[in-house]
């Protein structure tokens, strides 16, 4: 008996494949195996002998099972290792599938500035691209025959309408809709009847801003522009105001920033002046407030216009404005 057990153990240890091991298991430990046979006969034995035989069978069974399990897990480890090795992959090959597309650089900068203004409590408003003469000019204190209309070559449409030459009409619409106090910006597409070249487009993007409240001062305007431009350019900027004429503001300013390229020492970007003209702004002309039903004795404010297209060109160092409306994916895919 013991010899049989020893030889079975030896066979378990000697098995070289999982199949071989399995056949030993079936022969010895299976339902019809040797151990099962031994147990079957036990009923015929005397009680004392039976107890001794039972003990022997249990011991042998435990020894055999443990040997079998050890051997079996050995085979499994080897098999797993072989499978894992066979599953070797080169992860340096390019990932299949489509890359995400991208948003137009104008959209990206526009959103960035919108978010900045929203964090300061400004509403983001939208206005029509086809405007009335009233909203584009008259309500902004630019009556017909005003020389300021020469500054903005206008596309006229049949039916007496026009394509907005600036986003300023949204100021008027914003004041009419929301009333004072008011903090708003209006980004959008504007049109000027100008020939297109590397630095001129008849279709470009502006962002108009306005704040109406009680006692808004030039000091507030300077603070605001400095804060805003610092956030746009991600660094401290030095600004200066100088007189500029825009009929919808009084006083009106041109705002320059100290050249970010040369720091003010002079370079080709700032035409050696140390300053770069960035945006027109001013205190809202009382005539404009009145035209929008706001009492200038009680309310006043400031307004400014930011050239989004220009900002995009500065941010990404784009030398030719025509790329922006080109629809060329070799260009647009870079953003």
């Amino acid at each position: 008996m013991q010899d049989f057990v020893d030889s079975a153990l030896a066979r378990i240890h000697a098995a070289t494949t999982a199949d071989e091991l399995e056949s030993v298991r079936v022969e010895v430990l299976g339902r019809k195996g040797v151990i099962a046979d031994l147990s079957k006969d036990m009923g015929k034995l005397a009680p004392a002998e039976r107890a001794e035989r039972g003990k022997f069978i249990n011991t042998a069974k435990q020894a055999l099972e443990s040997a079998w399990e050890g051997r079996k897990s050995g085979f499994e480890r080897v098999a797993l290792a072989a499978r894992l090795d066979a599953e070797w992959l080169d992860l340096t090959v390019p990932a299949p599938g489509r890359k995400p597309g991208s948003l137009h650089p104008i959209t990206q900068i526009q959103w960035e500035i919108e978010d900045l203004f929203r964090s300061l409590g400004f509403a983001v408003l939208d206005g029509p691209e086809v405007e009335t003469e009233h909203h584009n000019f008259d309500a902004l204190n630019i009556p017909a025959d005003h020389p300021a209309r020469d500054m903005q070559d206008t596309f006229w449409l049949e039916g007496g309408h026009l394509l907005r030459t600036h986003t300023s009409p949204v100021q008027v619409r914003g004041m009419e809709k929301l009333g004072p106090p008011l903090r708003m910006i209006a980004p959008g597409r504007v049109f000027r009847n100008e020939s297109v070249d590397a630095s001129h487009e008849h279709t470009f993007y502006q962002l108009e801003g306005m704040m109406i409240d009680r006692n808004v001062s030039v000091g507030n305007l300077i603070y605001f522009m400095k804060t805003l431009l610092g956030a746009i350019f991600h660094r401290e900027v030095t600004v200066r105001l100088r007189p500029g004429f825009f009929p919808f503001v009084e006083p009106g300013f041109e705002l320059d920033i100290r050249c970010l390229i040369c720091g003010g020492d002079g370079c080709p970007v700032c035409k050696q002046s140390g300053w770069v003209e960035l945006l027109p702004c001013g205190l809202v002309n009382p005539k404009v407030l009145r035209a929008s039903g706001i009492d200038p004795a009680e309310w006043n404010g400031f307004a400014f216009g930011l050239g989004l297209t220009r900002l995009v060109m500065m941010r990404y160092a784009i030398g030719d404005i025509r790329w922006l409306q080109s629809g060329d994916l070799r260009f647009l895919g870079q953003f």
Binding site: V124, D150, V196, T203, S217, N220, R240, G252, L332
Partner: protein, 758 residues
Amino acid sequence: MKFSYNWISEFIDGLEPSAESLERIITIKTAECEGVDSFGRGLAGAVSAEVESVEPIEGSKNVKATVLTNLYGRKTVVCGAPNCRTGLHAVYVPVAPKTVGGIVSDGMLASESDLGVSNDHAGIIELTDNERLPALDHVIEIDNKSITHRPDLWGHHGMAREVAAITAKLLREPANLSLLPEAGGPVKIEIEDTSLCLRYSALVFENVTVRRSPLWLRARLTSIGLNPINNIVDLTNYIMAELAQPMHAFDREKLHGDTIFARPAREGESIIALNDETYELSPSNVVIADASGPIAIAGVIGGRDSAISATTTTIVLESASFQASSVRKTSSALKLRTDASMRFEKAQDPHNTVRALARAIELLEELSPGIRLVGGLADSGREIPVPAPIQLDLDWLARKLGCTLESPRVRAILESLEFKVSDDFTVTIPSWRATKDVATPEDLVEEVGRMIGYDSIEPKAPEVACAPSYDPPEREFLRRVKRTIAAQGFTEVSNYSFISEEDARRFGLAVEDHVRVLNPIAAGQELMRTSLLPGIHRNIVENAKHFDSFRLFETGREIHKQKNAKPEEVTHLMAAIYSKDDGRAALLELKRTAECLVPGISVRPTEPRPWEHPARCAAIYLGDVEVGRLSELHPSLVESGRAAVIDLDLDRIPRSIDARYIPIRKFPSSAFDLSLIAGVRELAGVLENQVRDFAGEHTESVEYVREYQGPPLPAGKKSVTFRILAGAPDRTLTTADITAVRERILNGFLALGYESRE
């Protein structure tokens, strides 16, 4: 507008800043300068000199001249000019001596081109006795846009007033009004409408000699970009550039009658102007006329027939003031912008007419010696309104600027600009600032602000109420749409809002449905787009030259014509997939993209549009609202490859979807598949809707699984398989319940004549 530094400094004694510093000062305080250039480089050190003797040089065209200079003593120069002769008053320039043909030439006799005052190099300059020489000058160019509101800055004296105020110097007045004769001229003035011609002043001079102007005058006009013509015309231009008052001189002999009329042109009148062009006039144009008709277009240009010529001996010198908007209208209607019209359209000060005439009397004595005034001053016009004074509240002013201000400082600033300030700060506006520029207290904020310097104002955070901002839902919606589609591999493009008639026709869009641009920038941009398609199509064609496959999209406004109303603007999204395969995948991919953008859409068959592949197009619905189209472009529009496009009307799509939690079912559901035999062109979507309709109670969902064509199915047939999920919220369904669902579907289809593939 160009300004001569020397000219400005003639009005300010002891002007210290250089031209370069003046440019900076003017930019910061007054108007934007565009640069400084020197003028007349050769004038450095130039003096007048008399040619004492001229000797020929053998074998040379040059001559050896001995000249007596005004500063450097006697000099010998070699000169090649044909007009070099004894007795000539020339201009000597002390250049370094050099040997020419064995003779040492110590300096040179200059031509105008040598001095840099004109391009004339035909000969050396001939001065008249005692003629003064111009000096080296600097020219500051000011951006015209920055002085459109300042009629006074269109002349040197006005700019000098600014400079004097900024540098705290005294300003000299160039015109001496006491030179003006008594009223009562030899010509009569008749103004038909004094709202159009506010004032007309004139003087008549006789014994006039028309000739070339002296060098200093020609140089000065040239320096600021005006062409010298003759002494009389140059005089009018000089005074215009000095006092901002345009003037005009007529040849008295060529005028008919002795009355000058300022009146609207009669219907059918025309005039040949100084530029030799003929202008057809209408009653909206104001003209100056004599008894026979128009002699000038008021405020714009003079007539050729009454112009000054070499034989003119008597002149009528006009100095008038016209309504700004009338001059502007005429000038833009005739497409004729002149130095005069540019000034008049800024609303010139009517007080200035006689000031210019007084200045002319003085200058003409030098320019045309022997000239004599005939009679007195002809002067007619309406009474010039006195501008209402402005009450300035200093506290208010300080609040507007956001800084503290001492009242003596404010007073000094305003007075330096020639505003009159009373003890209680009632501010009187000077006439040259009152026509269009200054009228309100806000205008004075600018005057004080720019003079104290905006850099002296401390930046200060505004104190405003904290409040959430109004947030239009469409903005966030548009952002979500753009972000989603970009994440699906589409790159955003931006196209013009203009299309051509040809574009419209190519895509089968009726040309007359488009809003027309009255003044298009170029051919091919005459219509406003009613679809994003022409732009997207161009993007597809262009990018197909560089890429085998790509995805792009645009969001933008369509502009739709309305009867008697403002055109309607509709925001659309158009996306395209270009590929070089059979095009199936692209269309389904676009459909998937649309489902990402607008969950819950469905696709229905539709009539093809002219630009669509007739067998590959569909309408997109959200509920029962058509919100867009999905189609392949007609192969005739895409040379190689295929392009699938989707067009969504974003204005018809709900801005936000209200999500609401539905409890997860507690009892298990059961799924079963069911296949139907249908014709190959029957739409899976239609069948699916029918399955849903028939399934009825206990149906949780119906899902398309697959379809199959081929044996054992007969030709022309396909099998379509759907998976139906059945369940109930309150119990587990019995086999009988599920069988009932299945039976309802099968019976429904059997009744329609279909078979199932069981």
